[in-house]
């Protein structure tokens, strides 16, 4: 039995300790807003915040998350920076199919929480998520808009 603090709630889960956090979120906790894209830390679709850090949950064993606050897309609007990011995402109309966007929003939230006025290089370094719909320019625009509100 592991104890996880997800979005401010403590959950007890019965699961092999090396299970990736992604699948515990999606399957044991029913939080399917976090997406599976590649499973090998390539695409960023599975990004969540672990103690505020953008983390690729497909490649992060759940046991390593014990004792650390985890924030997923489901709680993003209660995150002071995340709420601003979502508004900017809506204004910029960043998502197309949307599948990569949970991860993009989480990565942008982690970036802006530490760097409210990121340079293009900062964005480049923090936002390595793959978007097959090619929303990279819209996402960059949304990050700029969100930064203006911080």
């Amino acid at each position: 039995m592991l104890e996880l603090n997800v979005n401010g709630t403590v959950h007890r889960v019965e699961v092999e300790p090396d299970t990736p956090l992604l699948w515990v979120l999606r399957e044991q906790l029913g939080l399917t807003g976090t997406k599976y894209g590649c499973g090998v830390a390539q695409c960023g679709a599975c990004t969540v915040l672990v103690d505020g850090q953008a983390t690729r949950s497909c490649s992060f064993p759940v046991e390593a998350a014990v004792g650390q606050p985890i924030t997923t897309i489901e709680a993003i609007e209660t995150h002071p920076v995340g709420a601003k990011v979502v508004e900017a995402w809506v204004t910029a109309q960043a998502p197309q199919c949307g599948y990569c966007q949970s991860g993009q929003v989480m990565a942008a939230t982690a970036l802006l929480a530490t760097t409210p006025k990121p340079t293009p290089e900062d964005v480049q370094a923090a936002m390595t998520n793959i978007c097959r719909c090619g929303t990279y320019n819209a996402v960059a625009h949304a990050i700029t808009l969100a930064g203006e509100q911080l």
């Binding site: 092999e16 997923t72 599948y99 998520n129 990279y136």
Partner: protein, 751 residues
């Protein structure tokens, strides 16, 4: 509607059947007081101004499409599936215009299979693809919205005991201006549903449009920004089990035995182990446990069956087969004059050959399917798909029950680009159905990313040859092009559907349909099959995805050989067409005036530009790329794209689609390629199948030209101009001619 794709789908539509498990059941369950879905005898209004015979077969079936709830929310069943292209919002925008209702009041879902939703090809076909959605349904949805509005007015007239002519509407309600009385649509919907839809409802004068042509926001952006969309992979059904599969390393091999089955069954959460056609599945209480177990399965593969892959197959093998066919006589796809004779008199002949690799769709949502057999003998299937009727038919074959007993649910797609057609072994739903049957439980199958890359239906590896005969002054007097291979149309609809002479449009479009006028021309198709074990699919912009690269690069070669400017040469070749001249002018203007270069940019890099044209899916596109070279690789700084889709429903969506289409076009130009070794796919995840990321995304600027020509598509046309514009810019900069995609394979000399 034109095009080989539409024709193939239309001819192959499963027979329309009476549907027992009707949409009506689902709609009725959704709430009370509405358009109840009474079976109103279908009549077929004609599109205003349309020629006789161009009947809109289903535009009178208001109740099949629309339900207005008492709270005023307008529920619309869309024949097309939303996957990021904005089709739910676009369709609502069109209906809202004629219904006179706020677009924001719409709730749009993908319609189930059925005759009523075949709005394409004269009311006979339905699929989401070929950039057809808006253009094929525009008249249908305008008429449908207008018919619904007339029915609401009629219902209000009865209720108020006033002549219908004295009533009008404002968004969301019927009004009687004289008395100031108003009734919201939600209160009239039930009575209106019982009325007969009018034959030829008056349509709004386009000069008074308030929604069509405006950059209205897409509906689903907030839900997509907060993780609230339920994709197929997220579907949850009570009591379901989860399944993970491994396919045979080489397509065609069948699992004879799982030698450690007992050990797998003893693993945590595992329910059962199954042998499937060409694959082994583990079913468990969670997908991760199923995946963990199936990864350890020891499988004896034998007995090649079904679509088989050659044991020694590589992509190079296939390219060799295509090249070996060069020079054989092909089927004439386009001909003007006698190019062969003209060639013999030419002062000079220029020849080149081009090729492009197999491509994966690499949509971000891996495939999945959920199947549930119900006590009443029906079957529910949730599956990402672009053509529900085809999936219903294939689910029926897998389940061994009538199609009429199957409900197909079509959730929003986490990207598609052509991935989700009925592609036989590339689909997960037959596996889900077999496993649900075997376990007597609902089962969701999810393919890992590795399984997806290994079993996608790939954009075919392709090859083309060109020959241009020039006269003494350098003008083209003979033009010959040939496309080789097999496209998804041949593979999935059969050679019998290719017409006479047989032409596979999915291999030839982009070699054909170009706007340039040559004194003589011959374009031919030379069929060469791919191994059955390589599945072939429609990939964003289909044949254009490689052919416009081939053709537009070769045209640039001719320009270079004759010392002409490639932009000026194109202008001259489209001198007969105001539309294309305007397009070239527009893209040049957008880029600050045509300048080929090379020149020094302010950042110290040496740069040059290339131009290309494409005529995909009823739209016209011109593209300019600006590049530099760094460490032997091309860096694309800017793309300028002018698109003329004839007419515009939502300019913001068009701009977004062009951005997206340009990104995937550049991705294919620079990086993408499916590899095979000994018949096995070697590029199994994003580490080896490289796609465009932020670090290589250029600025993209878009000009939309509404020429008034018949409406064309917007989802794919931005793709095919990008690879040739980039290759032509690379030539302008380095003198190196790229004749093979992806360009990343070629080290470029510095410039």
């Amino acid at each position: 509607m034109e095009g080989p794709l539409a024709a193939a789908f239309s001819a192959a539509m499963p027979a329309g059947r009476p549907v027992n498990v009707s949409r009506r059941g689902m709609f009725a369950a959704a709430g009370a007081g509405l358009f109840l879905g009474l079976a109103i005898p279908g009549r077929a209004p004609r599109a205003q101004g349309a020629p006789p015979g161009a009947a809109l077969r289903h535009a009178g079936k208001v109740t099949a499409y629309l339900r207005i709830a008492p709270d005023g929310k307008i529920h619309l069943q869309n024949p097309f599936v939303e996957g990021g292209q904005g089709i739910d919002s676009a369709v609502a925008q069109i209906v809202a215009e004629e219904l006179d209702a706020p677009p924001a009041d719409f709730i749009v879902t993908c319609a189930p299979p059925g005759e009523d939703f075949r709005v394409m090809q004269g009311g006979n076909a339905r699929f989401t693809g070929g950039s057809f959605s808006v253009r094929s349904s525009f008249a249908h949805f305008r008429t449908l919205g207008a018919a619904a509005r007339a029915m609401l007015i009629e219902a209000a007239a009865e209720r108020l005991a006033l002549p219908a002519a004295s009533l009008s509407t404002e968004p969301g309600r019927v009004i009687h201006t004289e008395s100031g009385r108003a009734i919201p649509y939600g209160e009239l919907a039930m009575a209106a549903a019982a009325l007969t839809p009018p034959d030829n409802p008056p349509l709004r004068d386009p000069t008074t449009y308030r929604f069509i042509g405006r950059p209205l926001p897409r509906f689903d952006v907030r839900a997509k920004s907060t993780g609230k969309i339920t994709y197929a992979i997220d579907v949850k059904v009570d009591g379901m089990l989860l399944a993970a599969v491994v396919h045979a390393p080489r397509a065609g091999a069948q699992p004879a035995a799982v030698t450690n089955e007992a050990a797998l069954r003893a693993m945590p959460g595992v329910h059962s182990v199954h042998r499937l056609p060409g694959a082994v599945a583990v079913v468990a209480d969670t997908w991760w446990r199923a995946k963990t177990a199936v990864a350890q399965a020891q499988i004896a593969w034998q007995a090649l069956q079904g679509p088989v892959m050659d044991a020694d197959f590589t992509a190079e093998t296939m390219l060799g087969r295509l090249k070996a066919a060069a020079g054989t006589h092909g089927n004439t796809a386009e001909e003007a004059g006698d190019a062969a004779v003209a060639l013999t008199t030419a002062a000079r002949v220029i020849e080149a050959e081009y090729d492009a690799p197999y491509l994966a769709h690499a949509q971000m949502e891996p495939p999945s399917a959920t199947a549930r057999f119900n006590a009443d003998g029906t079957l529910d299937v949730w599956v990402p798909n672009q053509a529900p009727d085809f999936f219903q038919a294939s689910a029926a074959r897998a389940a061994g029950i009538e199609a009429a007993k199957i409900r197909i649910h079509s959730p929003p797609l986490g990207g598609f680009f052509g991935r989700h057609f009925a592609y036989g072994a590339a689909n997960a739903h037959p596996q889900a159905i077999l496993l649900a049957k075997a376990t007597s439980r609902p089962v969701k199958v999810i393919w890992s990313r590795e399984e997806e890359f290994a079993r996608d239906a790939y954009r075919p590896l392709s090859y083309a040859t060109f020959r241009a005969g020039l006269d003494a002054s350098g003008d083209i007097v003979a033009f010959q092009a040939a496309g080789y291979g097999e496209g998804p149309i041949t593979r999935h609809f059969g050679a019998a559907r290719l017409g006479n002479p047989p032409i596979d449009g999915s291999i030839m479009e982009g070699l054909t349909g170009k706007p340039y006028r040559f004194a003589t021309k011959r374009v031919e198709f030379i069929p060469v099959p791919h191994p059955p074990g390589v599945n072939l699919g429609f990939w964003r912009s289909v044949g254009h995805s490689m052919n416009d690269f081939f053709f537009e690069s070769f045209l640039d070669e001719v320009a270079a050989a004759t010392g002409r400017d490639p932009y000026e040469m194109r202008l001259a070749l489209v001198a007969h067409s105001e539309r294309h001249k305007a397009l070239l002018n527009a893209v040049a203007g957008l880029s600050g005036g045509w300048r080929r270069g090379p020149y020094d940019a302010p950042d110290g890099t040496r740069r040059a530009r290339g131009v290309a044209m494409a005529s995909p899916f009823g739209s016209e596109v011109a593209t300019i790329a600006e590049v530099s070279v760094s460490d032997g690789e091309v860096m694309v700084h800017d793309l300028w794209v002018a698109i003329d889709p004839g007419r515009v429903v939502n300019p913001r969506t068009i701009e977004e689609q062009v951005q997206s289409a340009a990104a995937i076009g550049l991705s294919s130009a620079l990086f993408e390629e499916i590899g095979f070794e000994r018949g096995e796919v070697t590029t199994r995840n994003f580490d080896t199948y490289r796609v465009l990321r932020r670090d290589r995304m250029p600025r993209v600027r878009v000009a939309i030209i509404e020429s008034g020509a018949p409406m064309g598509g917007v989802g794919e046309p931005g793709t095919p101009g990008v690879p040739p514009a980039v290759a032509n810019a690379v030539f302008a900069l380095t003198g190196q001619r790229l004749r093979s995609m992806p360009f990343g394979r070629t080290r470029l000399s510095g410039a």
